[in-house]
Symmetry: none
Subunit: 215 residues, 4 copies
DNA sequence: AATGAATGAGCTTTCATTCAT
DNA sequence: CATGAATGAAAGCTCATTCAT
């Protein structure tokens, strides 16, 4: 097996993409993208307002015409990340509401993985820099995050109840399956030689096996 | 299912423990423990030399009598973390050298999980702050890290070859199984209501299912 | 003879003057003047950024909006000093190009002395703090300095060749005549009771005698 | 004429020599020599106690078993430098007490130059770092320094009175002749291709010409 | 005589932020 | 909308010096 050399970076991916339609126009949006790249690379504390401004090509004071503080840039990124995740998982759950638990679980895991392959920098910031946010700025994201975890918990319970799944410890299954997706953001990239679909499908199968679902 | 409220912290665990026998005596060791706690909580860039010194109860200048720079404190933590992980995985692999691939995989995953439950702060720093290290200070740890990944890859290949495992995409299986353990450090703690053994056993079973081993 | 008491200071003069037209306007110029005074008095290493800022009446951080480092303040002073010296010597040499070597030597020494009486602090910094400068920042000044020494060497050679001067060891004559002027910056001041012109004329006569020119 | 490239160093010479018989034995003497080298190269403020200790091969705390402070190391160097200068000039003046003023002036200048060629580092520190010394530590040296200047002033006055010399402005002649010697310490070295005697003889002749003595 | 550990003060520089223009 | 200048606070680190051993 060819293990690609492990890189001591927080994210392997390069493009600081944001979901369609959420990037504000003009300078405000470019600040957001620069913040995304730098926060993903160096963490919130490790990135400076001057670095962000420099990447955008503006004076650091100009940033304050668009965001009231460095923390608010992070807050907007974290909000966008959580909303995208929540939207995709909610959509996947709704779309498969009447399917078997197995199909719904697969859909949720696929959605979960794909949001991490599509926006790896955003995912790394969203998952890893929440601690740097003022509690009041973090609160809305925390609510979305809890809803996402409950979506996963609910399908596991449904499958356990109706006999599709055989789960010894549902809580650990949630942490495992959730954790699988989170890690994807760190290493997914073109060097891997796998498409986003391939990873999503494979990880969905892993999840089904974790809960002993027939496949 | 009772999902405990998700906490916006990098580590849930509290005790800034280091493996037996590696903590240097006296002030040097206390600096290491304080650095561990603060780097785990706030990241390398988010923790200041004065905070570390304050936690130890020394003047910030005194720190430099023991370590030549802030980066060297991190470097020692990262080195310890990688050596512990490497030692445990190597031991597990050696102990099960003559067993089936399934038993060896289980042993590796158990060891991997246990090192994350036993030293969660160290694991978070070891996995998450390597990027902040000067390349020359990081190099030895990167070598150990690659060896660990190869241990896992080798047992997967052995099981795939001898028919114990059925793996579509071995590389993705490595990332998945490896990723499972890494995440443990973030949420394992007393509030979870699971012992370290319970988590390790369960995760070992998850891994075996991921590779379709008979159990 | 009334020898004024010798003072253990690097410069006796007080006014931290810079040549006309080179002081930048506003804060940037006041930083330069404060740096001049403090570097002259205490040397580069002995003067702190906070002292400079305090003398200007600004926060020490503000200094960095005008100069990228303490070394760059020194670099600008050293550059100004060398350019003024070079300009005056070049002008003196050009003005007397068609005169006798004796008249040209006198003009050069007068110019050399006058630049030291007019800007003694600048001369002390320019001559005495070059060693503290990064080589790349020092390079342009070193070139000017070498050109100045060659101006002096050339007139000595001309006078030696055409019989106006009688010089045993031209190299030592250059060091002696050059050294005469350099020292002036340390002790010239109002307490001396001599005008700049008196010193310049007298030293020019000294130089002519050193090379045995008819007067 | 081959002007050697001008070097942006405070002293060109290398050997950190002290006069015979004054270097204290053992560590105390090695501290003095290390201080001499570093103070000459970087100035008092630019050299640290740890650098000195490092050069000696001792712990910086050990230095305080030999000298009560960094300033006292400088003070001892400055004292030694002034005593050597005073001793040599006094001896030269005494030896030529009954000679012509011209011969006495030549002897004084020769002695002055030779002390600068023989101990250039010491001379640079002695002349250039007095300002960094506490006034009470500097006082004895200042007295010696004034005596030296008076020796020179006296012979000039004698020569002027008895008609050997023709001096317009004795004070400026003192500054000029004194300044000649001081500068020697900065550039004298093996690269010059002149012996100490050659320089001393030549500079003595320069001095006689400055005062219009018959030669 | 020498040391390692410790310290308070200070260093140069960068931080996020403000404000007048 | 954008800027240059400014700031208080704090960053990592070095300073000369002290002290118990």
């Amino acid at each position: 097996m060819d293990l690609p050399a492990w890189e001591p970076r927080r994210v392997v991916a390069m493009a600081a993409d944001l979901p369609d339609g959420v990037t504000p126009p003009g300078t405000r949006g470019r600040i957001l993208e620069a913040g995304l790249e730098l926060f993903a690379e160096s963490g919130f504390a490790g990135a400076s307002i001057r670095q962000i401004a420099g990447m955008v090509g503006i004076n650091s004071a100009t940033l304050y015409a668009h965001y009231p503080s460095k923390g608010h840039v992070l807050a907007e990124l974290v909000r966008i990340g959580h909303e995208e995740m929540w939207a995709r998982l909610t959509e996947a759950a709704a779309r498969t509401r009447d399917d078997s638990a197995a199909r719904q679980l697969a859909a949720l895991v696929r959605a979960h993985v794909l949001v991490h392959t599509d926006y790896p920098l955003l995912a790394v910031v969203t998952n890893g820099e929440l601690h740097a946010l003022d509690p009041e700025l973090a609160a809305p994201s925390l609510r979305l995050r809890d809803e996402c975890r409950h979506l996963l918990a609910e399908v596991l319970e449904r499958g356990a109840k109706n006999g599709e799944f055989s789960v010894d410890d549902p809580l650990l299954a949630v942490t495992a399956i959730g954790g699988l997706g989170v890690q994807v953001a760190h290493w997914f990239g073109p060097a891997l030689g796998r498409t986003r679909e391939q990873v999503a499908d494979q990880y969905a199968r892993f999840a089904l096996r974790i809960v002993n679902a027939d496949q």
